[in-house]
Symmetry: C2
Subunit: 301 residues, 2 copies
């Protein structure tokens, strides 16, 4: 029976691959780096082809498989699709196609929302596309068919974050701390306007279904009040990852100094570094440019 | 916004409802009583109509809803369907119909199996019916579409347990400890024969997909060897329950002495008490008989 035994390694120091269409997934990477402090991360942001929202499902699948193969070639132990659009479109095919295991950000957030709600009414804050895809509703109702899901599209939230990143990150030259600089009176009222439809429901739990939204956690919590619990897909995905690595005996050894690496398809590495360091909460020291041609060679439809 | 706030209770001393077609669910109740030591349990075993296996899905749904309504009427805070057959047939409708939240035993076991496997090949040990229902395969592949599931029907395992219960429980007059009395050379070879098809696969993780099977954990582990991890649905359901009660602020207060109560549709309470105490690991002190007529009044198709 020995030949089919899993290697009894108690640790695995290979990096965790994290993939996003751009910078948003760095909220997930940040959460991983904070909670799993010995793990190394290899992050790929497909900034040049960002945003994925307006693209076809097929295109997003191809891009995700390209990045997945690229991360596999860089010997990651697991891949996290740190993007709600890409998870909705490409998680299943990535799991079926890639050799390395792949997780997304939707299932962990959905499970946490169900386990949190007492009114059994859950709000999902996401881009219009993610709301329309119904991916959260399916994930939530497959675990509890009695939970009502209120999709709340918040397209302006990504714009707010992008706008603040374009100014804040460069001007202030510091890392984001607890989303504080994104919590101004103007942003508060902008966010509150978008969230007002939720006030008319019995929703007591809201999932942040877009990787940009943890950056607006302050104004979102303020708008929803203390009666509504906010579930971050980023944090829940990190919890799931921790459970997985723990159960598989694949956590990095405790004496390992993590080495985070970043790759972007953007031509402007300085811009990626500035906004990225801001979101990641520490300087992105090791950034490489990946040519789209190189990615395309990894996987063709 | 206050009127839609969830009550900020930090604890909830109402019992956890646990429902099974008979005695098997007491392995789940036992796991709950062990891990959540302040929680009170109200257990309903529909022994008179056991086993559910040969019944139609509609019938099992009706029985589950009857028991669910009965538990609701006894003011439980959550219901656990501690039976794989009933979870496969009735969880969704119970979640849609009952006012109290309901969880089953399949999703927690499926998630744990995915998070454990490194070969991405998972075995499911269950009754023929549960294997045929495909419920585990669906639950596993909805979370990881790249995991292969090997259903291993083990109909004889329930017979072994029932046979041992019929003798062991009465003769030995002691509670089960670590499944030891079910771990004889004869049982070992009987179990090994059933599990031999799994040896030809790369399965590294096996879910016990029947509530009777934790009683055979010893011989099962022996047959599978150290290269295969055994996931108990009972233990994983308890973990999920803990996460739910913790997130909802519904754990019982730490100064509460739990009061476990048991109800059975069997006419022979002494028999239920003997075998039941043996499985539960402590004497079933408070047992009531529930008339089928009373259950039928709770819910009609």
């Amino acid at each position: 029976m020995d030949d089919r035994c899993v290697s009894p390694l108690a640790y695995d120091n290979r990096p965790i691959g994290v993939f996003d269409s751009g910078l948003g997934g760095l909220t997930v990477a940040r959460s991983i780096a904070t909670s799993l402090s010995h793990e190394s991360i290899y992050y790929v942001g497909d900034t040049k082809r960002c945003p994925y929202g307006p693209r076809s499902e097929n295109e997003v699948r191809t891009f995700a498989l390209q990045a997945g193969r690229w991360l596999e070639a860089h010997d990651v132990k697991i891949i996290v699709i740190a993007c709600n659009t890409a998870t909705a479109a490409a998680l299943t095919v990535a799991q079926q196609t890639l050799d390395v295991p792949v997780i997304g950000v939707i299932a962990p957030g959905a499970r946490a929302a169900i386990n949190t709600t007492r009114t059994r009414k859950v709000g999902v804050l996401a881009t219009e596309l993610t709301v329309r895809s119904g991916a959260y509703t399916r994930a939530i109702q497959s675990l509890d068919a009695g939970v009502d899901v209120y999709g709340c599209p918040a397209p302006s939230f990504v714009n707010i974050v992008e706008r603040e990143l374009a100014t804040g990150a460069h001007l202030q030259e510091r890392w984001l701390e607890d989303g504080d600089i994104f919590d101004t009176p103007e942003i508060r009222s902008e966010v509150a306007r978008t969230l007002s439809p939720i006030a008319d429901t019995e929703v007591d739990t809201v999932v942040l279904g877009c990787t940009h939204f943890p950056l607006l956690a302050g104004p979102i919590r303020h708008a929803l009040g203390t009666g509504v619990r906010v579930v971050s897909s980023a944090e829940e995905t990190t919890r799931e990852l921790k459970d997985i690595l723990h159960r598989r005996g694949q956590l990095a050894a405790a004496d390992v100094e993590p080495q985070h690496r970043f790759a972007t398809t953007s031509d402007n590495i300085a811009e990626f570094a500035a906004a990225g360091s801001f979101i990641f909460g520490q300087p992105l020291k090791s950034i490489v440019h990946v040519d789209l041609g190189e990615l395309e060679e990894m996987y063709r439809r």
